[in-house]
């Protein structure tokens, strides 16, 4: 007698699709403000200046955006990969110190970096003043206009190099000494090992870091505007604020969005093709003693990004803060700090929750739909914060007909909603790479041992990815602390954060007064990044 047990095929076919259905619903809610911007774009009548921009500025926007991306990528790669190589493979004095502080440039918002360096390099700044007074013969060589796209790309390279450094560092360490020793045995020099073995194996990791750099450059407004470089983002703002033409700004944002979507797909395909699985449950790498002749090179390579990416701007801001110490309102500073922490904490928490959900859903279902949803929800990262803010305003005024939604604009709810849309990709990245590192046999073993999707998450994937979630939380938190345009547009009445206060003083050319607020952002960011570093290495068994 044969008993029929179990479930029918219909149920099985749709078992994981319940997860996909929920993720479609949530992603729709996340994409709704962006969709409403584009919806309004296509259904709004009237004149626009798009023809003017298309005929006159589009080429300039495209060329300068590509040029800026190219240069910044180049500098970020140089400043990120080489220190990671030395620190991951070699043992030398101050190695641990460098390893901690190489993350710190991330704590300085790129707009603060630009304001600070333009102050340092300006006619009245310390360098030109010193040269004018002490070395007048060589002064003319330094009396230049430093607000150039090349200088901007170097500054952005310094500010964004930790994205490349962090992924390269982990990848180089996990690849391990086995490949290094094998390559030496095959007669390859250190340099050849680096570019023939280690770099190709780390390509997916480096690309994911570079992708974040490119996204940051595409979305950069404050620094780009200050340097007078015309990129798509400045074009969007110019069309919106200078021409008062929302439609054109949205059309430009559409082009930007298409570019980003193509970049996302390219990154995904490229990563898929060159996927390298690090050995599971492997022991950590053994460090090699660095030849004394190479010590100078190692120290120079590690010190350079830290010195110019963190210490110089930090000391300048610290100096300005000390100068302005008597004018500081401590209770106001404390209140702004609390506001920044509150907004960043709530948003980062929500982002990590949603990012984990979307990533786990993709892993469970292995469907193209889930993959597409994950790509789409990352688009918010590429859209300028101001456009996201605009989208929220359009959405809530549009649905006001059905219920009194307009009152929600200018509340913490809409602010956090916008921040989640904008920064979901940042939180997603570490969780994605962590989940991808675990082999499919974990899922299969869990199922064979009797676990269902939720149980599998609770008993296996949550504990083994908890560190990645904490890393995602910290990275997102630090980014949110620096966030400016969305908070400026959507903050509740009489609600300020450290970033908005910094910006308000800076645009009034009161850089000294703004310094204390920048300093607090940097100090909180730096402390979080030091904690982050500990987590990353403990969790990845990085030596």
């Amino acid at each position: 007698m044969i008993n029929l047990v179990g479930n029918n095929n219909f149920y099985v076919k749709y078992e994981n699709k319940r997860w996909i259905l929920v993720s479609i619903l949530i992603s729709f809610f996340i994409l709704l403000p962006i969709l409403s911007v584009f919806f309004k774009n296509f259904f709004q009548d009237g004149e626009n200046s798009f023809d003017y921009i298309w005929n006159t500025l589009i080429l300039e926007y495209s060329l300068s955006t590509i040029y800026l991306i190219f240069l910044t990528s180049f500098f970020s790669l140089i400043l990120g990969i080489f220190p990671a190589w030395y620190i991951s493979l070699y043992k030398f004095p101050l190695r641990n110190f460098y390893d901690i502080v190489l993350f710190l440039p991330l704590a300085i918002p790129s707009y603060i970096m630009s304001f600070t360096y333009s102050d340092i390099l300006s006619f009245t700044g310390p360098i030109q003043s010193f040269l004018r007074n002490k070395l007048p013969y060589i002064y003319p060589f330094f009396n230049k206009d430093y607000l150039q796209i090349e200088i901007l790309s170097i500054l952005l390279g310094f500010a964004l190099s930790p994205y490349v450094y962090s992924v390269s560092r982990i990848s180089f360490s996990l690849i391990g000494s086995a490949y290094f020793n094998l390559s030496r045995n095959l007669g390859l020099s250190s340099f050849k090992i680096f570019y023939k073995v280690i770099l190709p194996l780390s390509r997916p990791a480096i690309l994911s870091g570079l992708f974040l750099v490119i996204m940051e450059v595409l979305n950069e407004y404050g620094a780009v505007k200050y340097f007078g470089v015309n990129t798509f983002t400045t074009g969007i703002f110019k069309a919106w604020f200078s021409f008062g033409d929302v439609k054109t700004s949205i059309q430009l944002a559409s082009i930007l969005l298409v570019i980003v979507f193509i970049l996302l797909r390219v990154e995904k395909i490229s990563t898929k093709k060159t996927k390298f699985h690090y050995k599971i449950n492997a022991k950590s790498n053994t460090l090699i003693d660095l030849d004394k002749r190479k010590l100078f090179t190692a120290h120079t390579i590690c010190m350079f990004p830290i010195l110019f990416g963190f210490f110089v701007p930090f000391l300048h801001i610290l100096n300005n803060s000390i100068m302005a110490i008597k004018t500081i309102n401590i209770s106001h500073l404390f209140e702004l700090t609390l506001n920044s922490i509150l907004i960043s904490f709530l948003s980062a928490f929500l982002i990590v929750f949603l990012a984990t959900f979307f990533q786990y859903c993709e892993r469970l279902s292995r469907s193209k739909v889930a993959g597409l949803i994950n790509s789409l929800i990352s688009l918010g990262y590429a859209i300028p914060g101001a456009v996201v803010g605009l989208g929220i305003i359009i959405l809530f005024t549009s649905i006001n007909y059905y219920f009194d939604s307009v009152y929600l604009i200018g509340t913490l709810f809409t602010l956090i909603y916008a921040l989640v849309i904008r920064f979901l990709a940042v939180g997603k990245s570490p969780i994605k790479s962590s989940l991808e590192k675990h082999p499919k046999s974990y899922d299969e073993t869990g199922k064979i041992l009797g676990l269902y999707s939720l149980g599998l998450f609770r008993k296996v994937f949550f504990p083994i990815n908890i560190s990645a979630m904490i890393i995602a939380f910290i990275i997102t938190f630090v980014d949110l602390m620096k966030e400016l345009p969305i908070t400026l547009i959507l903050r509740p009445f009489n609600f300020d954060t450290l970033a908005t206060q910094t910006y308000e003083f800076a645009i009034e050319e009161m850089l000294v007064k703004s310094s204390i607020y920048s300093l607090v952002i940097i100090l909180i960011g730096a402390s979080m990044l030091i904690i982050l570093k500990k987590f990353i290495y403990k969790y990845n068994y990085v030596s």
Partner: protein, 320 residues
């Protein structure tokens, strides 16, 4: 029959079926080895049995319960099937003992100390996976599978990472447990020696179909086709009565004079015996000898007619 597989078809692309209508059955407590080349669908077949993959057509019945057919699919969580994976996936956040008892029903907890001693892991109970060697991780996976007394045990290359020194004893112990618990077992392996040592029956799989399903002795001595003959070990082609015949190397004996003269090419020392490689009628040929031979000398060999293997014309050229 305890496990019955009827007309099983599995594919990812309908134009390229990985498993094409296979039929076989396994008795309770039997150990069956599944052998074939890499990528031929052995692991996919195990996943179909475990429920990790759904079949496209056919039926799988275990212990009189339909696990999978057109109308029915029992989830892997509900099947009493254990699976030992090739990459020994221990969960990195759990120590060894937590891994072995992971999601374990309390009625099986009594088996823990026996499993630990069986797999020789008593002293490593609180170590985490990254602190264990490959062999120790593999033994932990074996313990995790056996502790829950499965109805069907699936093993995908489970001994590939074990040191030779402990491999034999672990295989012996596992064999004893399987026999003792009457656990029906399917073993996927590349190692023909493992298959011959512990299997009641061996299933040779190629091009999506079963080439032969028989006990090891029959399979070795009476292979169904040339592929089955070759997969189990060296086989020499010779001409006997003007017809093509085959013979195993161990059935050739060195004599002073015969019609079969082999030109020695290489002599391999194998401890208690020499394995000689040479040329016979322009074809490679192997035999065993107690003494070594120099290269390029001719050695005469003979055999018993009963040891010759014959294939019909179709099976003769199968997969050649």
């Amino acid at each position: 029959m305890y496990l019955e597989v009827k007309d099983l078809i599995k594919y990812y692309n309908p134009k390229n079926q990985l498993i094409r209508k296979i039929n076989f059955s396994v008795n309770k407590g039997e150990i069956v080895s599944f052998i074939g080349e890499s990528g031929c669908g052995k692991t996919t077949f195990l996943k179909c049995l475990s429920g990790l993959e759904k079949i496209n057509d056919g039926q799988i019945i275990l212990n009189n319960e339909v696990l999978n057919d057109k109308a029915t699919y029992v989830k892997p969580q509900k099947r009493k099937v254990s699976y030992i994976f090739q990459d020994y996936p221990l969960f990195p956040h759990l120590n060894l003992i937590e891994n072995i008892t992971f999601n374990l029903d309390s009625i099986y907890e009594k088996n823990l100390s026996y499993m630990l001693s069986l797999t020789n892991l008593e002293n490593l109970q609180f170590r985490y996976p990254h602190q264990l060697s490959g062999g120790e991780q593999q033994r932990a996976c074996i313990a995790r599978s056996l502790i829950r007394e499965p109805d069907l045990l699936l093993m995908d290359e489970p001994f590939s990472n074990l040191d030779n020194s402990i491999k034999e004893s672990i295989i012996d112990e596992i064999y004893k447990i399987i026999r003792h618990t009457k656990t029906t077992t399917i073993l996927v392996t590349h190692d023909i020696k493992d298959a011959l040592n512990i299997s009641d029956r061996i299933l040779v799989f190629k091009a999506g179909i079963i080439q032969q399903y028989a006990d090891p002795i029959k399979l070795y001595c009476e292979p169904a086709n040339r592929y089955c003959a070759k997969i189990l070990g060296d086989i020499n082609q010779i001409t006997f009565d003007q017809e093509v015949r085959f013979i195993r190397p161990e059935n050739l004996r060195v004599v002073d004079n015969s019609d079969y003269s082999i030109l020695v090419e290489k002599c391999y020392f194998q401890g208690n015996i020499y394995k000689i490689k040479g040329i016979l009628d322009n074809l490679p040929c192997h035999f065993f000898s107690k003494k070594p031979y120099q290269r390029n000398i001719k050695v005469c060999v003979d055999f018993d007619e009963k040891d010759l293997i014959f294939f019909d014309s179709l099976c003769l050229s199968y997969f050649e």
